[in-house]
């Protein structure tokens, strides 16, 4: 049979493992459909918001700082805490390296620090 084209969504195993990791209690198996529904709505809104931010800055590409603004507006970043702290807490090392400027040899900083 031909592969059906469906809306891409996060893999079940991933969503459930992350959710139960944070929940720290037993999670009923039939929670997944509910979670998926929530995440669908969440992504829809997220993309809408980010698009609005980028348009506001007269850009067509969504940049890192747009998502940062969204994080702050959602109240996910507590006052006085830099986003880098959250990056360090939640993201695996290889992604951290890409997001947080690190001084490498020869006085070069990667990734390029904007400001």
């Amino acid at each position: 049979a031909a592969k059906q084209k469906e809306d891409p969504s996060l893999p079940k195993a991933y969503v459930m493992s992350v959710f139960s990791h944070f929940a720290k209690t037993k999670v009923s198996r039939d929670v997944y459909p509910v979670l998926q529904e929530i995440l669908d709505k969440y992504f829809e809104r997220l993309v809408d918001d980010l698009e609005a931010y980028a348009n506001h800055a007269k850009r067509k590409t969504i940049e890192k700082q747009d998502v940062e603004l969204l994080l702050r507006r959602q109240g996910l970043v507590p006052d006085g805490v830099p986003v880098n702290v959250l990056i360090e807490r939640y993201l695996p090392m290889e992604y951290r390296k890409l997001l947080i400027p690190v001084a490498t040899s020869g006085n070069k900083v990667f990734p390029k620090h904007r400001r």
Binding site: D7, P8, S9, L10, P11, A13, Y14, V15, S17, V18, F19, S20, H21, F22, A23, K24, T25, K26, V27, S28, D30, V31, P33, V34, L35, I38, L39, K41, Y42, F43, E44, R45, L46, V47, D49, L50, E51, A52, Y53, K60, T61, I62, E63, K64, D66, V67, L70, L71, R73, Q74, L76, L86, I87, Y90, L91, P92, Y95, L98, L99, P111
Partner: protein, 75 residues
């Protein structure tokens, strides 16, 4: 230890809108956002389950807190 998700997978979800482009590493920030959102969702559902005096998180608990959380997640 948290599982990893492939970047391509996340990107394909974000590409539902054809005219939106993501800059370098912006998808990783979205990933962070997603994790924080799930964290919040999980904690509130656990509190809700605790109110019900059950040790297991059931769909109704998640549903009950999701409405409020999605409201908070507005940008």
């Amino acid at each position: 230890m948290l599982k990893k998700i492939s970047r391509n997978n996340l990107k394909s979800i974000l590409k539902k809108k054809p005219n939106v482009r993501f800059g370098a590493n912006a998808d990783l920030m979205v990933h962070l956002n997603l994790l924080l959102f799930l964290h919040r969702l999980a904690e509130e559902s656990r509190a809700k389950a605790f109110e019900d005096k059950t040790a297991t998180i059931k769909p109704l608990h998640v549903k009950a807190v999701s409405k409020n959380l999605l409201k908070k997640a507005r940008g």
